[in-house]
């Protein structure tokens, strides 16, 4: 007969665990902790960990680090999230339906502060979290590092021993998605387009314009294709913005009104990501216009030898597939890459927010320059040479010729091209995604430092699976773009009328 002594057993287990952890961590410290992966609680893209530890005054928080291969140092892993240790008496516990990570402490849902960050009480001994964003089907290594009040780690961050977790739960597929509504909608669109075309045709016939009888037929295939595959998705997208669609609810999303928009504006980093998007687009356009014009003027000089060769070479950023050049720059900017090799340094350009942003902008400038150069080249060649000759006979200096003759006459090209450039940069995705994926990140669920609106929407939709929220973002972005373009055109038209 074995006497049942649960407390003794528990104590023994905990001491053993503590000693084990202490020995393993090599830190003769009572702040040992144990991290365990709860395999039973796996979900799609989620790995749940349980952390038991002895509370200590020095601990001000916990950092959760993860990577898809074994690591010993935080330098080889990514920071997933942080849990603060603070007084929770004035805080509320999070509801289980909170969007991203769900955490518990000592069995109950964890407290969250005003910003939505998880907080545990200083005398809690255990917390667990369902970590989202885990790639299914591969092993993930996870380590928990306690940090002090100054943010410095309280354990040795060079010889960590992460635990291994894995989730194989496939994408939750409810009963085969209901294709009927979509097919109905598509057919409706096709029929209405055809009806529109027939109506227009009749208009023409009534007005006696018989010559263009075939026109509507010629245009029909393209218009129908556009209607079904562009208009329909647009309206569908607008509708999605008002639903709670996400990856688990495919086909039976429900209307939730403006809730998604509320989520967006209440979420952290909204204004930061918008601001950066504008900074990103504006700086790109400015640089593109100035450098593109400079290159075009240089190439325009008559009698320049090797002009064709220069022009062909300078077109390379346009000719080489975009993703390849961006990835090449990624490689060149690595700590052991070409740029560092040339300077003799080993800087990780992607590490700090400021440096990552600068680098991302510079690479995009490189990418877009040839197009601008070609447009300005064409515009410059259209300017009459005799205008310059008159100025030359009058003794106008070359710089004055450029300022007063070339620039004003280029305005007709500058305005649409700069708007186009702005929109193109605003919408560009490849550069940021392939250079930094939006990193450095400040927190899970927040837009990263180099995220623009576009890349952030991508993350919301395809990394977090929040289709409804993403659709709401898309609507907002579209309105923003339209508003800006309209304002810009209006202002430049007004200036043209005055000039």
């Amino acid at each position: 007969m074995t006497p049942r002594r649960p407390e003794a057993g528990l104590t023994a287990w905990m001491s053993a665990a503590l000693l084990l952890c202490a020995a393993a961590a090599g830190v003769p410290d009572a702040k040992a902790q144990q991290v365990a992966v709860d395999d039973a609680a796996q979900a799609y893209r989620q790995i749940r960990i349980e952390v038991d530890y002895t509370p200590a005054e020095a601990i001000a928080g916990f950092e959760i680090w993860y990577a898809d291969q074994a690591f010993e140092s935080t330098g080889d892993a990514e920071l997933h999230s942080t849990i603060r240790v603070a007084d929770t008496s004035v805080l509320e516990r999070a509801l289980e339906s909170v969007v991203f990570d769900r955490c518990w402490s000592n069995g109950l849902p964890i407290h969250r502060d005003a910003a939505g960050n998880p907080v545990v009480n200083p005398d809690a001994t255990n917390w667990s979290c369902a970590l989202s964003g885990m790639t299914p089907g591969t092993e993930q290594w996870i380590a928990v590092v306690p940090v002090g009040a100054d943010g410095a780690p309280l354990a040795d961050t060079e010889s960590l021993q992460p635990v291994v977790g894995r989730t194989d739960v496939p994408d939750e597929r409810t009963p085969p998605p209901n294709t009927r509504p979509v097919l109905y909608a598509l057919s409706l669109v096709v029929l209405s387009t055809v009806a529109l075309l027939l109506f227009l045709r009749r208009q023409d016939a009534l007005q006696g314009r018989s010559k263009s009888r075939l026109a509507h037929i010629y245009v029909a295939p393209a218009l129908i294709a556009l209607a079904t595959l562009t208009f329909y998705p647009i309206f569908y997208g607008i509708w999605l913005a008002f639903t709670n669609a996400d990856q688990s609810r495919l086909g039976d999303e429900a209307w939730i009104g403006l809730a998604n928009f509320a989520t967006i504006f209440a979420g952290p980093g909204v204004w930061r990501v918008t601001l950066f998007t504008f900074v990103w687009a504006l700086s790109n356009v400015l640089a593109h216009v100035m450098l593109g014009l400079a290159l075009a003027v240089a190439l325009d000089r008559r009698g320049l030898r090797g002009r064709m060769a220069y022009r062909t070479i300078l077109l390379l950023p346009w000719a080489i597939p975009g993703y390849i050049s961006v990835l090449a720059w990624n490689g060149m900017l690595q700590p052991d890459g070409l740029v560092n090799g040339m300077l003799g340094t080993a800087i990780d350009f992607f590490d700090g927010a400021g440096s990552a942003r600068m680098v991302v902008i510079l690479v995009n400038i490189w990418l877009g320059l040839p197009f601008m150069m070609m447009v300005f080249s064409g515009a410059l060649q259209a300017l009459p040479a005799s205008m310059y000759e008159v100025a030359e006979v009058d003794g106008v200096s070359r710089w004055d010729q450029f300022r007063h003759l070339t620039l004003p006459n280029l305005k007709g090209t500058l305005v649409p091209v700069s708007l186009l450039g702005f929109i193109w940069t605003f919408n560009s995705f490849n550069t940021i995604y392939l250079l930094t994926r939006g990193n450095p990140y400040s927190g899970f669920g927040e837009p990263g430092a180099t995220d623009t609106l576009i890349t952030h929407v991508f993350a919301v939709a395809f990394e977090y699976g929040q289709y409804g929220v993403a659709a709401a973002w898309s609507v907002l972005i579209f309105l923003l773009l339209i508003g800006f373009s309209w304002a810009y055109l209006k202002r430049t038209r007004a200036m043209e009328a005055v000039a």
Binding site: P384, S386, M387, E389, V390, A391, E392, V393, D394, G395, V396, S397, D400, H404, L405, P408, N409, K411, A499
Partner: protein, 361 residues
Amino acid sequence: MSDVEFIGTTKIYDDGTVALDSLDLTVREGEFLVLLGPSGCGKSTALRLLAGLEDISRGEIRIGGSRVNDLPPGARGLGMVFQSYALYPHMTVRANLAFGLRRGRGDARVDAQEISVRVEEAAEMLDLHKWLDKKPRELSGGQQQRVAIGRALVRRPKVLLMDEPLSNLDAKLRNRMRFELRRLHEAHGTTTLYVTHDQVEAMTLADRVAILSEGKLQQSSKPLEAYHRPANSFVASFLGTPAMNLIEGAAKGGVFTAGELSFALPEHLAGRDGPGIFGVRPEDVQILDNGEGGGSPGDVHCRVGGVEHLGSDTVYHLEAGGNWIRALRRRSADRAQGTDGEPGEEIRVNLAVPAALIFED
């Protein structure tokens, strides 16, 4: 205002083409000189060399006695009017006129007040007041041209250069503008060098005309002198419409023979001997009505090949001994139109007139 001297000025392009071959020409102060010739003769080249828009290969150009070969265009103190007017499309007329004064490196700094004075002057002279605040695209061709002239004159240039300024205008406007240009020149009196291929413009505008062909100067003299006493057959055929009759042949013993044609030479040419080109203008050819006067040694029997009734004149294309001769008969009160000479008819003309010439080349 200055005079212009071309001294042995030559322009040879990189590929070896000789655009201008050793031009020796002087334009006197205040003179209106027209450079005349067919396309490719080098007249525009000469103008551009003077303006400094192209480099001189050999020789010199002097303005006001100073050599200007290497001076940049802006330093030469010239004003230029282009064939296409080359107005600054994005500026108003007023700004167009003022631009050179404001931004050009002039010998004298011109201040804002002086600029508006000069713009007023130009507007007054060229009647531009109505359009001072319009853009070039709102103006007609003739108006644009006046702005171009105004822009050139507003800088009070030493020499005014004009490169076929009337070519882009329609015929009627051209006639009017010819008169305007003449009047303007009398008003401002600037030395003017004017390039054209139109001999009518040359005849009506020029104080002196310089005719060029294939880069070489053929003749430089007063227009009427060039007309009546052309230096060679090229000049002779270039001036005058219809063109002068040029018959290649040989003179011997007071008789000119060209193929099967032969006739007696007029007195002043009778002493000539050897091969040459006989020239007589269509309007100088005497058409003898049949039966009028007896046969004289200068008579030629021709067959009427064609008749052109122009209303004011009648042009006869006559064939004689393998040569074609044009004869012009002006309309006059005492002669019925269109009755004399039908194709196929035989007619007699007299070529031995005082105005006839023989050229060596």
